[in-house]
């Protein structure tokens, strides 16, 4: 087990290194840098001024030197300065993380707490009207992009209540905090809930046909015990996999959702930073997201062993 963990951590480091290279060079391939953008807005370009500014920011150096400078700083905990605000990148990124984390966490909670029970119900009631209704709802959840759903929610709330939910940066009570995050989290979590439901349903249908389900009934177990205790425990692995993948996809959904709901989280910040070619922000933020995704995958693999005793990680 220990050897497995060591090997696994090593592989994660290799993955992160690969990602850092890809992000760094992809970002440089995009035409224009912050200096181009600033000078284009000014309308007048003195090549000497431009070169001076590029030198200040260090983007006149060879790419490899720039990369080493970034990684060296990252390893020392120095993320550099934002080109736009000129504040330390860490100061810009850190306060935004909890906002997005809450949003993403709530969205995942929605998708699991709604998707899994509905998937079980849909499988148990296979072929009934309830099953069909749930499947139609889940199909619509998969087909609706989250930004469109977000816009619909905003439009509907204006039409019905004459106002729309506005992000409240300093919620006083727990309930206020929930109200602040619940609507955008639901908008972005609807899709995940729909996907989770479909996977739970098909996985449950597979498990409900197994011999040990009949054994459980033959023991005298109630339907609820058969479905949730015996079947769901066996059906949960593919669901965990999907939720793990969704956790990564969620970031993409959050970019547009944070924009639609005007929430100052990392996802929207990332889009703005890309627009300004704010390299220190983009590079470090994407690295941060990569770390989260890699750890989410790792967690999923560890959860396999928790839920299925047949899976044991050893040499």
């Amino acid at each position: 087990m220990f050897a497995y963990l060591v090997r696994r951590l090593f592989l994660m480091l290799v993955t992160l290194f690969g990602i850092s290279v890809v992000i760094f060079f992809l970002l440089r391939i995009v035409p224009g840098n912050i200096v181009d953008i600033l000078f284009a807005a000014a309308g007048y370009v003195d090549p000497a001024d431009k070169a001076e500014l590029e030198k200040q920011l260090g983007i006149d150096q060879p790419l490899v030197a720039q990369y080493l400078h970034w990684i060296g700083g990252l390893l020392r905990g120095d993320l550099g300065y934002s080109y736009v605000s000129e504040k330390p990148a860490l100061q810009e990124i850190l306060p935004r993380i909890p906002i997005t984390a809450r949003l993403a966490g709530l969205a995942l909670l929605f998708s699991a707490s709604i998707g899994i029970p509905l998937g079980v119900i849909s499988a148990v009631k296979q072929g009934t009207k309830l099953d069909y209704a749930l499947r139609v709802v889940s199909l619509s959840g998969l087909s609706l992009p989250s930004f469109w759903l977000g816009l619909l929610i905003l439009t509907a709330s204006v039409a019905m209540f004459g106002q729309m939910p506005i992000f409240n940066p300093n919620p006083k009570t727990w309930l206020e905090a929930f109200a602040t995050y619940a609507v955008p989290a639901a908008a972005v979590g609807f899709r995940s809930a729909a996907l989770t439901m479909r996977i739970t349903r098909s996985s449950m249908l597979e498990v409900l046909r197994q011999d040990y389900i009949r054994t459980a009934r033959a023991k005298g177990a109630s339907e609820a015990a058969v479905n949730y205790h015996h079947a769901l425990k066996n059906a949960i692995l593919p669901v965990i996999t999907v939720i793990g993948i969704e956790a990564a996809f969620l970031i993409g959904g959050l970019i547009v959702t944070e924009t639609v709901f005007n929430i100052p989280g990392v996802a929207r910040f990332l889009v703005e930073a890309i627009r300004w070619r704010d390299y220190p922000i983009v590079q470090n933020l994407v690295m941060f997201i990569a770390v989260v995704v890699v750890f989410a995958n790792f967690t999923v693999d560890m959860l396999y062993a928790v839920f299925d005793p047949r899976i044991r990680y050893s040499e």
């Binding site: 040990y212 054994t215 023991k219 005298g220 425990k233 066996n234 005793p309």
Partner: protein, 335 residues
């Protein structure tokens, strides 16, 4: 017939049908039999004759839809199981009537510890603490002769061999000391050496606990070793019933005779081995389109006009030996 109070199970005119796209078929048709306390009744027949559906009907676990029990009565210790509602039936299952299945490899929940699965069976029906139930589980594993029962109880099914798993299934089925145990081909999926052990174990425990046993099998060798009485089923119906001795000495139904002739004989030394195995020609008829008369007639060497026109009633040949054949007399003579 035995004294009524001695009967654990009495099945009368049981009828289970399946509604399928190709029509309605009668998986079990008008089946009656009974089991006494401590008695072993074997039900034999080839695949698709309704043996397993009979077992599931007794447990009321026939998948509905497509299946349904449409008639008859199943009386367990005087209670008609078919009249109970689902909640009452759940109290009977695993408690007064238990079942062991054919596939020990897949019949245990792979993500639950062996001990916990037995504990669940016990606590569903006995109002006792988890600790006491755990003790019973270990005791049951010891009873089915699993070495180091306390350690095995903490293991998962994949850590046990097929034979061990079937022992664990037996332990689970007997944990509440049921009045009736149904074993649906309990040894079919096991190695021959393990088969004998499992059968011996079941018979020992049955004697010890006084459980009635319904043993479903297609293996006449198993029947000869274990049962006191035998029912032969064909196409959903009982075609013959007799004590083991009477059945093997003089089978009255041509199908039973065919089954016996199909057992490969071990050639004696010096005698050339039989070149070809005996078989019953043809296949089991589709249960959707059963012939009007005897279902076995199309495959029967002795079939006459009457066999195709009228279904033969079960006739008593003395000593509780029943057979449904118009020409049972001739079968006996040939045998």
């Amino acid at each position: 017939m035995a004294d009524k109070s001695d009967l654990v199970l009495e099945v009368k005119n049981l009828k289970t049908v399946f509604f399928t796209n190709s029509g309605l078929f009668k998986a079990v048709d008008d089946l009656s039999f009974s089991v006494k306390r401590g008695e072993t009744l074997a039900i034999v027949g080839e695949s698709g004759c309704g043996k397993s559906v009979t077992a599931l009907s007794l447990m009321r676990l026939v998948p509905d839809p497509p299946g349904r029990i449409v008639g008859g009565s199943v009386s367990l210790e005087g209670t008609d199981l078919l009249a109970l509602d689902e909640t009452q039936m759940r109290r009977v299952r695993g408690n007064r009537i238990s079942m062991i299945f054919q596939e020990p490899m897949t019949s245990l929940n792979p993500v639950m510890r062996i001990g916990d699965q037995i504990v669940e069976a016990v606590r569903l029906h006995r109002n006792i603490s988890a600790k006491q139930a755990q003790n019973i589980a270990v005791e049951m594993l010891r009873l089915v002769r699993i070495p180091e029962p306390a350690r095995r109880a903490r293991e998962y099914p994949h850590q046990l061999s097929g034979g061990m798993r079937q022992r664990a299934m037996i332990a689970m089925a007997l944990a509440c000391r049921p009045a009736l145990l149904i074993a649906d081909e309990p040894t079919t999926a096991l190695d021959v050496t393990i088969q004998a052990q499992i059968l011996a174990l079941m018979l020992d425990l049955q004697k010890e606990l006084g459980t009635g046993l319904v043993l479903i099998t297609h293996d006449l060798g198993v029947v000869a070793q274990t049962a006191q009485r035998v029912i032969v089923m064909y196409a959903g119906r009982k075609v013959e019933e007799a004590s083991v001795e009477a059945l093997f000495a003089s089978p009255k139904h041509p199908y039973t005779r065919g089954l016996m002739a199909s057992i490969p004989a071990v050639p004696a030394s010096g005698v050339p081995a039989q070149a070809r195995l005996n078989e019953i020609p043809g296949t089991v008829p589709s249960l959707v389109r059963l012939p009007k008369g005897c279902a076995f007639a199309p495959r029967c060497k002795l079939a006459i006009k009457r066999c195709e026109a009228e279904y033969p009633p079960l006739a008593d040949w003395g000593g509780g030996h029943l057979a449904a054949c118009w020409r049972a007399e001739e079968v006996a003579e040939v045998a």
